[in-house]
């Protein structure tokens, strides 16, 4: 099967839209050919995960596109960068390290990308709709768009997400196509009490367990208690996508393509079934912590993926109730638009007295922000717990949001929650 290019694709390649678009289309065509796609399709949005600095080649690529006068052809949001441009005083980088990281973020803006700098573009005005064809990078955003919204994207990465944005095209392949979106492995919660509460930790644990056994299959989850809100589905997806290769999951009766088990399987047969027990949940959550209860606490890190407005509205009253006062910093990552809303509504007033440090545009596990790394960092994020030990060399304790705040008040890890 060879790749059929449309007249638009041909025009893009031959330079009718300028040299930057030609270069992007050439790379996109080669990529599409290598994955075995037979054609490309139109996309209406892109989300580009190119603002984290990984070396000169990535910067050269974007700056060359900008120098050639390139512009994205669809609405394109940007993932986190390596710098908090709103709070530069938080950064612990040398000038030499900071300069190329700033240039990379700026070059993307020059291409016409929206300066969203968030890993949760689905919490912005640029949230896609059900059924929309999009090209998104960033694993948690991809799984959220596919699973919770029912938009359609493959797992795009380095360079290719931007090539899709510059051309408005993506390969007609994989999760863009209905025939590849049906379930392929069933995870059934069994042996849980009928009163099973939809705690954040349960969703994180299920994400981890699904990632362990799915490989590249589309997982279907049956028996989840209805989530409190979509933030819990966000936590499930983010954990599954960081611990495994999950780009789409269906939760029966919860996510839009899975009103019933039969819908989740797109009419196909239910093949392999994995039973998940309360013991599995306990075991998964233990794996996310490499620090015991009672450990001295260096910091609390929340907001991976970026805190939504709704998460702030849940967190801030808890913070004021618990009123931690022993100097443990509580870092919360969020996006700059949400921060503007919080400030407009004056919701953050006085919160710094309890140790709150707001981080925007980036995330505490991808760059140099945390001050004191000795001791344990506590988080309610499965994704943060998965990546931070390797990325920034910290010890992690995972816990519910309430436990994180109680620990900040005690100065050591305390966990009251049931798992």
């Amino acid at each position: 099967m060879s790749l059929m290019l449309s007249p638009l694709d041909e025009a893009l390649i031959s330079g009718d839209f300028g040299p930057a678009a030609a270069s992007a289309m050439t790379i996109l065509a080669a990529f599409s050919e290598a994955i075995g796609a037979s054609a490309l399709l139109d996309i209406s949005r892109a989300h580009v995960d190119g603002c984290l600095y990984h070396g000169e080649a990535s910067l050269d690529f974007v700056e060359r596109l900008a120098r050639d006068g390139g512009r994205v052809r669809v609405a394109t949001t940007l993932n986190v960068g390596s710098i908090d441009l709103i709070h530069p005083e938080l950064m612990r980088l040398s000038d030499d390290d900071e300069a190329p990281r700033r240039r990379l973020m700026k070059a993307h803006e020059e291409l016409g990308c929206i300066a969203s700098f968030t890993c949760a573009p689905y919490q912005t005005l640029f949230r896609p709709l059900f059924g929309e064809q999009i090209a998104w990078g960033e694993s948690n955003a991809i799984v959220f768009a596919n699973s919770v919204i029912g938009a359609r994207t493959n797992r795009y990465g380095d360079f290719i997400d931007l090539c899709c944005a510059m051309t408005g095209r993506a390969p007609a392949w994989g999760l863009h196509l209905s025939e590849n979106r049906g379930g392929e492995i069933l995870f059934r919660l069994t042996g849980f009490a009928p009163s099973l509460a939809a705690t954040d930790a349960l969703y994180v644990a299920i994400g981890l367990l699904v990632a362990e056994s799915s490989d590249e299959r589309v997982p279907v989850i049956e028996g989840l208690p209805p989530p409190r809100d979509e933030d819990q589905l966000k936590a499930l997806g983010a954990t599954a996508a960081s611990a495994g290769e999950v780009g789409l999951f269906h939760a029966v009766g919860i996510t839009p393509e899975a009103p019933t088990l039969a819908d989740a399987y797109g009419g196909g047969p239910v093949g392999k079934v994995v039973e998940l027990s309360p013991q599995d949940v306990t075991r998964a959550l233990r794996r996310l912590s490499n620090a015991p209860d009672g450990s001295s606490l260096a910091a609390v890190c929340l907001g991976t993926p970026h805190f939504s407005y709704r998460e702030w509205r849940r967190f801030l009253p808890l913070l004021r109730d618990v009123a931690p006062n022993c100097g443990v910093p509580i870092y919360v990552n969020t996006d700059r638009a949400t921060l503007v809303t919080l400030e407009r509504e004056d919701l953050l007033r006085g919160a710094e007295e309890y140790g709150l440090i707001v981080v925007a545009d980036t995330c505490t596990y991808v760059t140099a922000i945390l001050g004191r790394l000795e001791g344990v960092v506590m988080t309610n994020s499965g994704k943060w717990a998965h990546y931070a030990p390797g990325n920034i060399g910290v010890r992690v304790a995972f816990g519910e949001l309430e436990d994180c705040l109680a620990s900040a008040a005690a100065g050591r890890v305390v966990r009251a929650s049931s798992w």
């Binding site: 270069s23 990984h54 070396g55 050269d60 060359r64 990465g157 380095d158 360079f159 290719i160």
Partner: protein, 139 residues
């Protein structure tokens, strides 16, 4: 010995073969300082890819391998060419980006790889835009 392959990234190259029994992820698998294979779970850990014609079944792992390969080509520690038994989009993109930015070819070819042995001298030339000729000389 001559074999014919299909270019995913075209170009000419020559070097000694390094045949890997398992696919290698460049991200987390190859050191950008020197081209050493650093993936502790890979059977060929400790070998070096710089200037070699790297031969393996396919690509593996994270899409960040595109940027790592492009960076390796830029800094001169990349293989001279990559020969695979099945296409890999991640490596294709990395090699293509580096070629368009720096004019440095790291051809990516797909063909049957059973004939190759480590340290064979391999010369890759283009018969046309899509077709590669690989000459293999056993030493």
């Amino acid at each position: 010995m001559v074999t014919i392959g299909r270019f995913y990234v075209a170009g000419a190259a020559e070097g000694l073969a390094l045949v890997l029994s398992e696919s290698l992820s460049f991200w987390g698998g190859v050191a950008l300082e020197n081209g050493d294979i650093i993936d502790q779970s890979h059977p060929d850990v400790g070998k070096n890819v710089k200037g070699r014609v790297l031969i393996m079944p396919g690509g593996r792992g994270s899409s960040s391998s595109s940027a790592v390969l492009a960076e390796a080509i830029r800094s001169g520690v990349a293989p001279a060419a990559i020969v695979l038994s099945r296409p890999d989009a991640i490596l294709t993109v990395g090699a293509l980006v580096a070629r368009s930015l720096y004019g440095r070819a790291c051809p990516v070819v797909v063909c049957a790889i059973e004939k190759f042995a480590t340290d064979d001298r391999v010369r890759i030339t283009a018969l046309d835009a899509k077709t590669a000729e690989l000459r293999i000389a056993r030493r």
